[in-house]
């Protein structure tokens, strides 16, 4: 069983349609769901923290390019590091400990067995660069955006769980360029409203947003980057051929947005969750709502999400599950 008890379900109660929107809300608010609850903290370590962090270390060792930092972003990485350390403490004060004397900090992560003294801004005091060091202690993909000349630029990131995109390809673009392929987003002003929203963010608030799709792999593996496309490309066609719908994964991305205090850099951190349809089908509210949303989804959005070829099967599977539950 995967852990649905902390799943950030992407649809509001009663909602039966989906369109792209600037669906942001203040973070750090607990939401009750039919399977449990989520959202109390900015960071959710999950029940597989050690395993995910070990996967991330392996992936970075194999492909160091998953970390991209434009030269001017080094101070922003330190800014992010400090922000995330404090959020780790807020999440697990029993296991995470941070103390400071001026710019000299002392950190202890009991879960990963890390103990480290460092001076903020002095890269020689850490065993790796600051972004790798912090990125290997949080389950989120870490993304940094610069607010420059009226535009938002994707200038640094550590991403190991990308959904069919490549951090190497996207780094250095501005947000309108990155979102060019998303239907209706630029045309309907969603990107420009999102940009205005991001630019108005201040460092004393954190916002969040939930996004969803179906994963391009019928397993909980989160790494479906373009870099590894040959490894996962054949999986969904096989799943469709076999009609193995319970194995299809609803992929939910919980994004946290804030402005880092020292450099004004914007964060776009993404925590990825996976939930197989077979388990969603056991929770009636979620099963019925997902069936309704997928059935109503306009063709262009379904196409972008890559689910157009099999959306009717998904709806049929979910409604079939509903019928057999009644029977």
């Amino acid at each position: 069983m995967s852990d649905l008890s902390r799943l950030p379900w992407p649809f509001a109660p009663g909602e039966t349609t989906f369109r792209y929107a600037v669906n942001v809300e203040p973070a750090r608010r607990r939401i009750e769901t039919p399977a449990g609850h989520w959202g109390e903290h900015v960071i959710d370590l999950g029940d597989d923290y050690l395993e995910q962090m070990s996967l991330r270390r392996e992936l970075l060792a194999r492909d160091p390019g998953r970390r991209q930092v434009l030269p001017h972003m080094e101070p922003a990485c330190w800014d992010m590091l400090l922000f995330l350390l404090r959020e780790l403490v807020a999440t697990r004060p029993d296991a995470m400990h941070l103390s400071a004397e001026g710019r000299a900090f002392h950190w202890r992560n009991d879960l990963l067995g890390i103990e480290q003294a460092f001076v903020l801004g002095d890269a020689t005091t850490l065993p790796t660069d600051p972004l790798t060091w912090i990125g290997c202690q949080v389950p989120d993909d870490v993304l940094m955006v610069s607010d420059r000349g009226g535009r938002l630029w994707f200038d640094a990131a550590l991403v190991t769980w990308a959904a069919a995109w490549s951090v190497k390809f996207d780094v250095g673009m501005h947000l309108d360029e990155i979102h060019g392929p998303v239907p209706r987003l630029n045309e309907q002003g969603v990107t420009s409203r999102a940009t205005r929203f991001m630019r108005s963010l201040t460092s004393d608030v954190v916002y969040r947003r939930v996004n969803w799709t179906f994963s391009a792999h019928g397993s909980p593996r989160r790494d479906i980057s373009l870099e590894t496309k040959p490894d996962w490309d054949a999986d969904i066609p096989r799943l469709i051929r076999d009609g193995d719908w319970p194995r299809l994964q609803l992929r939910i991305e919980l994004e946290h947005l804030t402005r880092l205090p020292l450099t004004g850099t914007l964060t776009f951190n993404i925590r990825t969750y996976m939930a197989p349809l077979g388990e969603i089908a056991l929770i009636p509210e979620w099963r019925d709502q997902l069936a309704a949303v997928v059935a109503e989804l306009p063709e262009d959005i379904a196409g972008y999400k890559g689910i157009a070829p099999y959306r009717d099967d998904v709806v049929a599977y979910l409604t079939g599950a509903a019928r057999s539950a009644v029977a």
Binding site: H72, G102, R103, S146, R148, R196, T202, R259, L262, T265
Partner: protein, 314 residues
């Protein structure tokens, strides 16, 4: 509602920096660490019944305290109160820090221009630049004998400082230093409006693209009271009458419409509201030319209707 809730900080220390300038050192009353901030940030201080923004002079990186330097201004009720009435140990209500004069991370070099008490955010940028090892040059224009923080600027800037005693010397220094910066430099200036105009004009004549120039207005230009107009809030159907001398923001707040706001002088950008109809007379210092011409948003604290009515998406 303002941008962030006010907290009370304890006055830990007061120093007379020059005859007219007082440095106020603030700490958390419970001994907690204060949040870090971006260089060039300001605190909004409520003093003598007035809310004023003062630049923080530290680097912002892991601060032990917040420091502001306050010039006593003629007729300034806030600054007068801070000079005459504030004592060590008092609790002072502050909002922020807010960053409205940030450093451009992607720049390869910074030219920092300070005039008079405008040295306060420049000192903050200089400290941060030294900590991060960023190339920097400082031009400091001052009246001899009245230069706040001159010793600190000299010590931090070392050979990268051009001192300009008097307005003529400052004009000359700007002319020379703006003409010889390498590509990739961003220039930052803080000072009286006349100096900022001189800075902008000199830079433009030297061929600087506007996106590489950053100015901090610590004295917003005086605005005319403007003509009366009507504003329709589309979502609620509320009709606001905005008389001459009253801002759209004040009219909205008086009618119980919640609009986030902070500086109330067209500088901080907090009270940006979406415009759904009508043309705007933009009087702020935040929006760029494209945003102005779109007539789709305005700063409610200073901008008004260009004609006699506006519709807002509120």
């Amino acid at each position: 509602m303002s941008g962030s809730p006010a907290v009370c900080l304890r006055v830990a220390q007061i120093d007379q920096v020059t005859a007219g300038v007082r440095q106020i050192v603030l700490q958390d009353p419970d001994g907690r660490r204060l949040p870090g901030y971006a260089p060039g940030s300001h605190l909004t201080v409520t003093a003598g019944g007035k809310r004023n923004a003062y630049s923080l002079t530290g680097s912002g990186i892991a601060p032990d305290d917040y420091r502001i330097s306050v010039l006593r201004t003629r007729g300034g009720e806030g600054s007068g109160w801070l000079h005459d009435s504030l004592r060590v140990g008092d609790l002072l209500p502050v909002e922020g820090p807010r960053s409205a004069f940030p450093f451009e991370l992607a720049s390869t070099r910074s030219l920092l221009v300070a005039a008079g008490i405008g040295v306060t955010p420049i000192l903050s940028h200089l400290r941060a630049a030294r900590i991060w090892g960023r190339p920097v040059e400082v031009v400091y224009g001052y009246r001899p004998g009245a230069a706040a923080h001159l010793d600190e600027v000299r010590e931090l800037a070392g050979p990268d400082l051009v001192e300009a005693p008097g307005r003529a010397a400052l004009a000359q220094a700007l002319l020379e230093r703006l003409a010889c910066q390498p590509w990739g430099t961003h220039a930052y200036a803080c000072g009286p409006t006349a100096v900022l105009e001189l800075f902008t004009a000199t830079a433009r004549d030297a061929g600087w693209p506007p996106v590489r120039l950053h100015v901090e207005h610590f004295q917003a230009p005086e605005l005319a009271p403007g003509r009366p107009f009507a504003a329709l809030l589309r979502r609620t159907g509320v009709q606001l009458a905005v008389p001459s001398g009253t801002s759209l923001l004040e009219a909205a707040l008086d009618a119980g419409v919640d609009v986030p706001n902070l500086c109330r002088r067209g500088v901080c950008g907090q009270c940006l509201v979406p415009v759904a109809g009508g043309r705007v007379d933009h009087r702020d210092l935040v929006l760029d030319e494209t945003e102005r011409q779109a007539h789709t948003s305005m700063l409610a604290c200073v901008s008004r209707a260009a004609d006699d009515h506006l519709e807002l998406d509120l």
